[in-house]
Structure formats: C-alpha cells, structure tokens
C-alpha cells in the first residue's frame, strides 16, 4: 500500500521514469483496451457473415470466401487457391468434400474433376461488410416496432418526468405550506424502495389499471423519480424570490410564473435531468420485461434479450441490433458527457 501511496505523488520526469509512471501508463493503456475493446469487437463482428462468425480462430476484419458460378452446377461454388503437385498455384472451385480429399473443378474446364487434399488448398477470400445483418432485421423481425416502442417510451417518459417533477419541485421550493417537509421526506424515502422490492405488487396494480401489455404501464411507474425532484428543487432554491413577487405584482398567475419564469431559469438542471432520463428509460430492462409479454410491444432491450436467449441464436442479427441499440447512448456519451459527469460528481445520482 505504501508503494501505491508513493506513486500518487511522483511526478513524471522528475528523476526519469519511476515505476509508478510505468504503472500509470500500463493501467491507462490496459484500460483503453479493456473498456473500448469489447465494444469495438462487437461493432466489427456485426459486419461479418454467419459463416465468418462461426469460424475459429476468428479474423479481425470481416471476410467472405469468394464464389463462382460454374457451368453444369446449380449453386455458386467456393473458390480455393490450390498448390498443384508440380508446385504451381491455381484457383479451383470445390464441388464436394469427402474426408480429407476435396473434389474440385477448374473454372476453365468444368467437366474435369481434380482431387486435392484439403491441406493443400486455401480459400480465396475478400473483405466484405455484411450490411444485410443490419437491413434484414428491419424487414424480417419486428425490429422497427421495437425501435419505435423504445423511442416512444423514452421520449414520452422523459417529457412527463420533466413536467411532473418540475411542478413538484416548484411547489416544494417556492411555497410555504403545511406538510412540505413531510412531502419532501416522503419523496426522498422512496429512494429506498427500488423496483426489485415492489415488483410483485406493482405488477398487480398495473394490471388492475389495465396497463398490462401496454406501453403506458412501462412509462407511468418510472416518471415520478425522487432524484428528479431533488435536483430540480435544489436548483430552484437558488432562483431569487423577488422575481416571483414582482411577477405577482404584475398580475401574473401562478401557472404563468411557473411556465414563464421558473422553467426557463431552471433550464440547465432540466437539461441534466432530461439527459439522465433518456439514458435511464432507453436502458430499462426488468420492468418492461415484466409488463410486456406481447411480441409487438417489446422494447429494444426486451426484444434483444429474448432473441439472444433462443436456442439457435442468430448472432449476426443480434450483434447488428445490439450496435443499433448502442447508438443513442454513444451519441449522448460523445456530445453530452460533460453534463452527465458534472451531474454525477455533484449529486451522486445515476
């Protein structure tokens, strides 16, 4: 441990390279590979054909074996480069394989069969991106539906979250009334009641309201988030009360005060909450899994998990769809990371 402490205080380049400097860079570079590597591998794999995916050892880039249509054969045949007994190399097409011997034909002379040991041939391969992995699920599966369901849930839940929580935060920060502290404590206390604890009775309530197998059943239980009320209220407390008093003098209604003064001034906090809400709702899994049992209602996350749990996993589609599912979150990460990191460092919410 004392060594650990030592390295914290060593500065690079004081007395050349200290071991802690090396450790730092090993850790950082290692972290770079471990954190990004899996995602990069996923994206690379998602462009491979099913045959290339089943191959071991896998290739880094997506390759396919070249095929050629040859007179006298219905299907296109795989092309191989063969080392002939005289040492020359020739490109032949494989008709069939029996044990370790492959029967091949030359594209120029389709009638003459040549027998070649499989050790003496290598497939002719070219790099090719299997974009059908991406295009086919849109037509073959309900993928468009899942995408739409996810977008609908995310956008609607976020809008309702912003409105409902900002109204509550306004009441809790700018009005004096009996039970205010109680309401605040009640909201904070619900932090202690995560979904996994109340899912059984919540399911019965959602069913009783007729929201089982309904996207609203996914949306409504999530919108009144205590963290949302909390960060908005903290922010609204910093807005001076004089602004509100002045507006009242000018005969503004309370609703106008909320809508035209408080909300615009709370914009930074609303933005943070909106970003968090989008990521939360887009990533939600357990609750949609419980509420949605009809295929056409699945969100992306539920659809992906169901398809990946099947006996014959169609990995080429799953990988491509996983990449699509990642896209919005990666965009948030690239463009809005600053808001999120300051949000977490400031309040510890996630």
């Amino acid at each position: 441990m004392s060594r650990l402490a030592e390295f914290i205080f060593r500065r690079r380049g004081r007395n050349g390279w200290h071991w802690t400097d090396i450790f730092t860079w090993v850790w950082l570079i290692g972290g770079l590979f471990i954190m990004f590597g899996p995602a990069v591998w996923l994206v690379g794999s998602s462009f491979k054909s099913p045959a290339a995916l089943a191959e071991f050892p896998p290739s880094i880039m997506p390759y396919v074996t070249q095929k050629a249509t040859i007179e006298g054969y219905d299907k296109p045949l795989d092309l191989y480069e063969v080392t002939m007994p005289d040492g020359s190399k020739k490109v032949l097409a494989e008709v069939r394989r029996i044990g370790i011997v492959s029967q091949m034909v030359s594209p120029e002379k389709p009638t003459e069969i040549v027998k070649v040991k499989i050790a003496e041939r290598t497939p002719v391969r070219t790099m090719s991106f299997a974009t059908s992995n991406y295009s086919e699920p849109f037509t073959h599966f309900d993928f468009v539906r899942y995408l739409w369901n996810s977008v609908f849930v995310t956008v609607t839940a976020t809008l309702i979250t912003l409105i409902v929580n900002s109204m509550a935060a306004f009441a809790l920060s700018k009005y004096e009334f009996r039970g205010r502290t109680f309401a605040m404590l009640l909201i904070l206390a619900t932090l202690m009641v995560p979904l996994s604890v109340i899912m059984v009775p919540l399911y019965s309530i959602v069913s009783a309201l007729g929201l089982f197998n309904n996207l609203w059943g996914v949306i409504l239980p999530t919108v009144a988030t205590p963290t949302g009320v909390f960060i908005l209220r903290q922010y609204m407390l910093t807005i001076p009360d004089e602004l509100i008093d002045a507006a009242r003098m000018d005969k503004a209604s309370e609703w106008q005060i909320y809508w035209r003064i408080i909300l615009p001034l709370t914009a930074p906090a609303l933005a943070v909450l909106a970003i968090f809400s989008v990521v939360w709702r887009w990533n939600d899994f357990l609750w949609p899994l419980i509420v949605l049992s009809r295929k056409e209602l699945y969100t992306l996350q539920v659809g992906l998990s169901i398809y990946s749990g099947e006996l014959n996993v169609q990995w080429h589609f799953i990988l491509a769809m996983t990449v699509v599912t990642m896209i919005p979150v990666v965009l948030v990460f690239i463009f809005l990371q600053r808001f999120i990191t300051t949000g977490i460092a400031g309040t510890g919410l996630k």
Binding site: S2, L4, A5, E6, I8, F9, T24, W27, L28, G31, L32, P38, A39, W41, A54, F56, V164, M167, A168, A171, F177, I187, T190, M192, V193, P194, S196, V197, I198, M199, V200, P201, I205, S207, A208, L209, L220, P221, A224, V229, M249, A252, S253, E254, W255, R260, I261, P264, V279, N283, F285, L286, L304, S305, S308, L319, T322, M326, A345, G348
Partner: protein
C-alpha cells in the same frame, strides 16, 4: 417585468416548434386562473404537487404497503382480494431449513442458493469494485496528459444498457469469442467459459465491475480533486514521505466519499439482475442465480409461480436495502458537516 423574463434560448426552428406548446400553455392559463381564485396562491402549491404525488402514491407507496399484505397470502391469483390469507406461512417456508449453510436442506432451496450466491457476489464485487475504482481515480488525479479523455475511457461503459453489456460479453466469452482467440494465440485450447460454474460466476463479477466502475471512479475523483493542494505542499516541505501523506491526508479526506461509494456499490450489488440475466440467465444450473432473479422467476416466470413467496423474499431484500440506505444517509450527513466546517 416582461424584459426580465429570459426568452427561451435556441434557434429559429426551436422557436417555431415551441409555438403550439406556448399556445397550449396559454390556453391552460385561463382555467388555472379560475382554480387559483378558488384555492388562493398557497393552494396552488397543492395543485403543482398533485400529479407527482398521485403517481408516487399509486406506483410507489401503494405497492410498498400492499407488498406486506401480499406476502401474507397464498395461491396464484393476481389481485389481493382474490388471494387467501396464510399469515406467516410464506416466511416460514423461506426459513424452513435444517441447515442454513446447505441450501439442499431447505424447503425453498433455490432461495437459499440465491442468497448464498448473492452474498458471495456482493463480497467479491464490492471489494474489487472499490479497489479498481480507487486505483483508477488516484491515477486520473495525477498530473496527466489529456485527463478528460482518460476519464471518458473508463466512464464509457456506464451509459451502456445492461442488455448491451450482457450481450457484448456473451459474445466475447463464447467458444469462438475474442477471449478464446487471444488464449489460442498463447497456445490454449478454446473453452466455453459460460458453461463452467466457477468461470460464469467470475464473469458476472467481472462484467458488472467493467460496466459500473467508471461511475464510482468519477465520484472518488471528485473527492480527490476537492482536497486542497496546499496540504500536500505543506507536507512536502515538512519532508513527509508520500506514503505517509497518502495515509494521513488523502485517505482521511476522501473517507466521506469513499464510504458513500461503498454503500452505493453494496446497494446495487445486492440487486444485481439485468446484465447477469442476459449474460448467463442464472446458469449454468443455479451457479449465477441471484436474489432479484429468484424473486422475478418466483413471481412471474415459472409454471408454479407463487407471488406471495416472491413478495416475502422481496420484503426481506428490502429490509437489507433499507438498512444500507440509512447507513448511507447517515454517512452523507456526516460528510456534509465535514464539508461545511472546511
């Protein structure tokens, strides 16, 4: 007064898109003025609070209380009035054990398997998570080139959905996966890691650390950066050895953050579900079956579903979480006081 109200910032397009919203808000204003005349200004607070409280009440508080009633009923009926009262039978069933260390001796053996697995998972995952995120935070707190880039590197997986995380690693750990590819290069035979009881358990620990470590690193880094630099300068001038400075300055001043992080990691680890469900599905066998999956399957997924039993188990888990949260709130308050004194 009008001039004081800031106009919504944004492009012309955004302004146009806001027009219907503005009109709608103006349209609501008239009826709300009527409400305001009836309730008075103070009464409007109730109006603003109402939607939130309604949703809270229906979807959080009501289920919370119903859960207790639910756990004292039996049968497979969904709605509480249709269910038969069984008193403490469900709890008795959960605790019906000849030997608590051996799940096979229990009436509800999967419950105890899940509890045991979760306990091991929590111990391992929390220890390693704290270790990794602390080391990463200390490294990121150094005088680094491109620090925000490196911070982003470790933070990146935090935003990924658990399903995506599960699938990424399922793909890497499978037989033709990247891990076997790497080991093959070193001369090892390919192995199906997720079919092995111990390796799949290790995988759930490792993957959950991979996915969440950036989040805790960030909190710890914020704590490290709040430590005044002049403390270290003074220590250096006094000839304090760096190791001593770490134990005497860094660790004590980081302690409030560290404690909060420990409790947060604990709370999340107890509830682990999503990534594991996608990665291993609780298997092979029951080797990665954790408590939330037990509740989910008992309550919803199996043929012989028993919502009452699931409710009882969820209340037990809730009890553990409440204790942990209270500890966290207590620690948070302590941390705040410390900050204020500074």
């Amino acid at each position: 007064m009008k001039a004081d109200v800031p106009k919504g910032s944004g492009s012309g397009l955004g302004e146009t898109a806001m027009v219907p919203v503005r009109l709608a808000m103006a349209a609501i204003d008239a009826p709300l003025r009527f409400v305001q005349r009836r309730l008075g200004i103070g009464g409007m607070a109730t109006f603003f609070l109402l939607p939130n409280m309604l949703i809270f009440g229906i979807f959080v508080l009501l289920p919370f209380f119903i859960n207790f009633a639910y756990s004292m009923t039996g049968g497979t009926a969904l709605f509480l009035p249709d269910r038969s009262f069984v008193g403490g039978d469900q709890y008795a069933r959960l605790f019906d054990c000849a030997n608590y260390a051996d799940p096979n001796s229990c009436a509800e053996d999967t419950f105890w398997t899940a509890v045991g697995n979760t306990a091991w998972f929590v111990v391992l995952q929390v220890t390693l998570m704290i270790l990794f995120s602390l080391v990463t935070a200390l490294i990121l707190n150094r005088d680094l080139m491109a620090r925000s880039f490196w911070r982003a590197v470790f933070f990146f997986p935090v935003l990924l959905s658990p399903v995506v995380v599960g699938l990424i690693w399922k793909w890497i750990l499978q037989r033709q996966g990247l891990l076997n590819f790497g080991l093959y290069g070193l001369g090892f035979e390919p192995y199906t890691w997720l079919n092995d009881r111990n390796w799949s358990f290790a995988a759930t620990v490792g993957v959950s650390i991979w996915a969440h470590m950036g989040f805790y690193t960030l909190i710890l880094l914020a704590g490290l950066q709040a430590i005044p630099k002049d403390l270290y300068e003074a220590a250096e001038m006094d000839g304090t050895r760096p190791a001593r400075a770490f134990w005497r300055i860094t660790l004590p001043l980081l302690m409030p953050n560290l404690l909060v992080v420990i409790v947060l990691v604990l709370i999340r680890a107890v509830q682990i579900f999503d990534e594991v469900y996608v990665l291993t599905g609780g298997g092979p066998g029951t080797s990665t079956l954790y408590i939330t999956q037990y509740i989910y399957e008992t309550g919803f997924a199996t043929q012989l579903r028993n919502p009452g039993l699931a409710a009882a188990a969820s209340i037990l888990m809730g009890g553990v979480l409440v204790v942990l949260t209270l500890v966290q709130l207590g620690l948070g308050r302590k941390g705040e006081k410390k900050g204020a004194r500074k």
